[in-house]
């Protein structure tokens, strides 16, 4: 298992390198530059001097080699040139990652148990009113994007009813000020997990081992929770990673709507203003988080189902 994890970690670094290289070239090749919008009053000499200062007068491949050299020799990923001028990109990310992770993990921590609960309920009460109600909610939550949910929650819950603040306010308890954005981000994962679990659990409930469990004297709920649910969780764990990734993606817009000082907002802004360093660092962060999440899920398979051994030796 340890060998397997180490191999996967090495793979993560390879993927990160590929992503970094591709992103570097793509952004440099896109139209737009660091002086867009500010060069109206600059002479041609001034413009050329500024581009030379940041090595942007060199061929892209040379810029890339200089970039790699900076990372390898000084661990220098550059500074922001537009969004937070002359601030190191990692300082920028370090200040914002915690709140973005907070939103993401909290959304996931809420989504998973609620999704499992709804899915179990729907499976147990299959084709009943409860099942239909849950299915309706699932369709609704999957169809409506998180930013639409966010806007709706902000308007009705915060503005009309005044139950929660309209935007992020650091003077309030964090749980209060982030409740609505977390809720907005949770709807889609709840729906996804509910839908998958309902399908898997419905099948498991009709298995022979369930009959045996009932015969042994367990109630339907006991048999479901102790046996059927566990068997159904392996495929469901598979959707947790996409759910988490969709939460991280959804947070880009939700953070902007609620004015949350997280990473999502500046990722979008950095792309729009061609702040290459910040965009690259953000992409690497999101890639790393996604790959780490996939690795965690793969490891968890072995915990959920003893028959699955990741990286174990094959028996002769």
């Amino acid at each position: 298992m340890a060998k397997y994890i180490l191999k996967r970690i090495a793979g993560i670094f390879i993927v990160l390198f590929v992503v970094m290289t591709a992103a570097f070239f793509m952004m440099r090749l896109m139209p737009g530059g660091i002086l867009d919008g500010v060069e109206e009053n600059l002479s041609a000499d001034m413009r050329d001097l500024i581009y030379a200062k940041y090595d942007m007068d060199k061929p892209i491949w040379e810029q890339y080699l200089l970039f790699l050299k900076g990372i390898v020799t000084e661990w220098d990923w550059g500074v922001s040139l537009k969004l937070y001028v002359n601030v190191s990109v990692w300082d920028i990310l370090a200040e914002r990652i915690p709140i973005t992770l907070y939103l993401g993990f909290l959304s996931l921590l809420i989504s998973v148990p609620i999704g499992i609960a709804f899915g179990t309920l729907a499976a147990l009460k299959k084709n009943g009113i409860v099942d239909h109600a849950v299915s309706f909610l699932v369709v609704l939550f999957i169809s409506i994007p998180s930013f639409v949910m966010a806007t709706g929650l902000q308007y009705f819950v915060a503005y009309k009813w005044g139950w929660f603040p309209l935007i992020y306010d650091d003077s309030l308890p964090r749980i209060t000020t982030t409740f609505l954005p977390v809720l907005a981000l949770s709807f889609t994962p709840i729906a996804t997990i509910t839908r998958y679990l309902r399908a898997e659990l419905s099948e498991s409930l009709n298995s022979d081992y369930m009959l045996l469990a009932r015969t042994k004297g367990l109630t339907r709920v006991q048999a479901t929770l102790r046996h059927a649910l566990r068997n159904s969780l392996v495929p469901v764990v598979n959707v947790i990673v996409p759910a988490f990734i969709s939460i991280m993606g959804g947070s880009l817009v939700v953070e902007s709507i609620f004015g949350i000082p997280g990473l999502g907002g500046i990722t979008v802004r950095s792309i729009n203003v061609a702040d290459y360093s910040v965009t690259l660092a953000s992409l690497i962060y999101y890639t790393l988080i996604s790959l780490a999440a996939i690795l965690l899920v793969d490891i968890s398979y072995g915990l959920i189902d003893p028959r699955i051994r990741m990286g174990g030796r094959k028996d002769a």
């Binding site: 139209p31 000499d45 537009k82 969004l83 993990f105 709507i257 061609a274």
Partner: protein, 600 residues
């Protein structure tokens, strides 16, 4: 046993996840509070900000270093916490004038008729936030920093020759460009002549008013030397001055006391400010609110003191007593790339450009956005003098404007047919690029797509090409290296409202980063005369006549661009706020920093 081990592993995983969640919750945005120096400090740790003016920014500030401010988001904050030699001050009678802020009096010419050497005396009681006195050394250091040839601050060019050309300043800044000679600081026309006096030497004769306006620009504000020098990185290549609260030193109307990254910035009244008696507010709070609908909701809830209205919302609040409107700050034009060689170079054909001008139904397009139809270059905000008289209100400036906002479809069709004949074309398809995120550009594009085709007939079609703002910008500017980089585009310039010639500099030959090719020698000569000529310097009526001539040539002879409308600028202001001025001051705005709240 195995079962127990697995349960334990599961428990450990859950604990790790919970710890991760807790860690991520512990961190978060840094809330830097309190100056810790002198009498500053955060008196509102609870966040109530009772009596504070509450406003918002649509994006987080990039930096408080005004020399590198890349997108203008920080302008209000550093304008209110920084000091200039000259600034707009309310006169107590509902108006304002450009007076000495750090300067104790108007600039004095010391070389007689030459008019190139000006002495400025500083106040002796101005202080930094930490109590340090502000002297001539601070002014010299600040200007030298702005012109640093190694840092190459984008605002440095403005400090060198924004409104007056300081001798050798631009040459000093750009000395490392290939082919340029080294310039020593001693050769630059910025001198310290006493502890509280400085001398400015200009390339050309100028007047006191221009000197004052030049040193009203943000690029000439003060930088605290000790703080700046402590912000160098290890290689002395990058300076992070202004990137956080502890890397910035206030000295203006307010002191920056709180900085919550991407969320909130708080200014508190500076008791040592030179005009402290005029500041009535205890402070100003800025929240970062990216979405304007959210900002409107916050205003309606009483959480904000003012809010900008989008074009679509203006109608809903026209009768609201809180409604305020400003002269439009920007005008949108249909830009015509006259260097484009496609379609036999029809975009350079005068008749075709006339056709586009007269085919544009400005009144109808403007109605879509509650805007002001425009058939000119100098917008309604451009002032001719400090009295508040606008250029457009002069009879002589309206006399040459066409009737019906220049909309004449029959004449447009005649010009179009003639142009097509001259260029040997039987059909024409053009593409117009515009910013996809702009709420004002798309309606223009969509309207002309339909209306122009109706006027010009089936031989003409217009393709819309919305793009991200930066991409559209690059494409518009790209004609210098690729003449066919674009055909038509929608955009405009944003001139300074109290400098009459500022709107016309974009159309002079050799203006860097123009949107189209300009080479009208008459316009160039008129511009030179207007900016550098002695008669224009002393005779405002003469200056106005020069500007009118330039505008007529550009629009009604060359048809260099196709103006459409001026973007409205409307906002709501809390009814308990009393502003120090009755009308917007050109160059000074509504001066909300001097506002006060009145209780009913």
């Amino acid at each position: 046993m195995k079962h127990t081990r697995k349960k334990t592993k599961l428990k450990i995983m859950c604990m790790l996840l919970a710890l991760l969640f807790l860690f991520s919750g512990c961190g978060g945005p840094s809330a830097e509070e309190g100056s810790g120096d002198g009498e500053g400090g955060n008196a509102n740790a609870s966040g109530d900000y009772e009596g504070y003016y509450k406003t918002y920014l649509t994006a987080s500030i990039a930096t408080m270093n005004f020399l590198t401010d890349a997108d203008g988001t920080s302008t209000e904050l550093y304008s209110r916490s920084g000091l200039r030699l000259y600034n707009y001050v309310p006169d107590g009678n509902g108006g304002a004038s450009l007076e000495g802020e750090l300067a104790a009096s108007d600039p004095v010419c010391v070389d007689g008729d030459a008019g190139t050497t000006w002495e400025i005396t500083l106040r002796e009681d101005a202080k930094w936030q930490n109590g340090d006195a502000i002297t001539a050394d601070d002014v010299i250091f600040s200007l030298q920093t702005a012109l640093d040839p190694e840092q190459l601050y984008t605002e440095g060019s403005k400090a060198a020759n924004g409104l007056v050309e300081i001798r050798n300043a631009a040459a000093y800044l750009e000395q490392y460009a290939p082919g340029n000679s080294p310039v020593s600081w001693e050769d630059v026309g910025i001198k310290k002549t006493g502890d509280y006096t400085i001398q400015i030497i200009t390339e050309y004769k100028t007047n006191a008013e221009k000197i004052k306006q030049h040193f009203n620009m943000p690029s000439t504000m003060l930088v605290h030397q000790a703080t700046y020098e402590s912000c160098w990185d290890s290689s002395h290549a990058v300076n992070s001055y202004g990137s956080s609260l502890d890397k910035y030193m206030s000295c203006g109307e307010y002191i920056l006391t709180e900085w919550v990254t991407d969320s909130k910035y708080v200014l508190e009244k500076n008791p040592d400010y030179v005009h402290a008696d005029l500041i009535k507010l205890p402070g100003i709070v800025y929240r970062v609110v990216a979405d304007n609908n959210t900002a409107l909701e916050l205003f309606l809830q009483g959480e904000l003191t003012q809010v900008t209205l989008g074009s679509a919302e203006i109608e809903n609040y026209l009768q609201d007593p809180r409604y305020m409107s400003d002269p439009p700050l920007q005008q949108l034009n249909v830009l015509i790339n006259n260097r484009n060689t496609d379609n036999n170079g029809i975009l350079n054909n005068l008749n075709f450009r006339k056709a586009l001008f007269y085919a544009t139904d400005r009144e109808s397009i403007a109605a879509l956005r509650n805007a002001i139809p425009a058939t000119y270059i100098l917008g309604t905000k451009m002032m001719v003098d400090e009295s508040g008289t606008t250029f457009r209100s002069l009879e002589s400036s309206s006399a040459y404007l066409p009737e019906n906002y220049g909309y004449d479809p029959e004449y447009a069709r005649e010009c179009y047919d003639l142009a097509m004949q001259e260029c040997g074309l039987t059909s024409l398809n053009l593409t117009v690029i515009f910013s996809e995120s702009s709420p004002n550009q798309r309606p223009i594009a969509e309207y002309i797509q339909t209306s122009w085709k109706e006027i010009f007939g089936d031989s003409f079609s217009l393709t819309l090409d919305p793009k991200p703002t930066t991409v559209a910008y690059s494409q518009r500017k790209g004609w210098t290296s690729n003449p066919n980089s674009y055909e038509l585009a929608i955009e405009g310039y944003v001139p300074v409202d109290n400098i009459l010639t500022d709107a016309l500099k974009f159309y002079t030959t050799g203006y860097p980063n123009a949107n189209e090719y300009n080479n009208n020698e008459r316009v160039d000569a008129l511009y030179q005369e207007a900016v550098y000529g002695e008669q224009a310097l002393n005779d405002n009526d003469y200056l106005i006549s020069l500007v009118q001539q330039m505008e007529q040539i550009l629009i009604y002879e060359d048809y260099i661009t196709c103006p459409v409308f001026e973007i409205p600028n409307a906002w709501l202001l809390d009814e308990h706020v009393v502003l120090p001025v009755t009308e917007r001051v050109p160059g000074g705005g509504w001066m909300t920093d001097f506002a006060e709240f009145v209780t009913e």
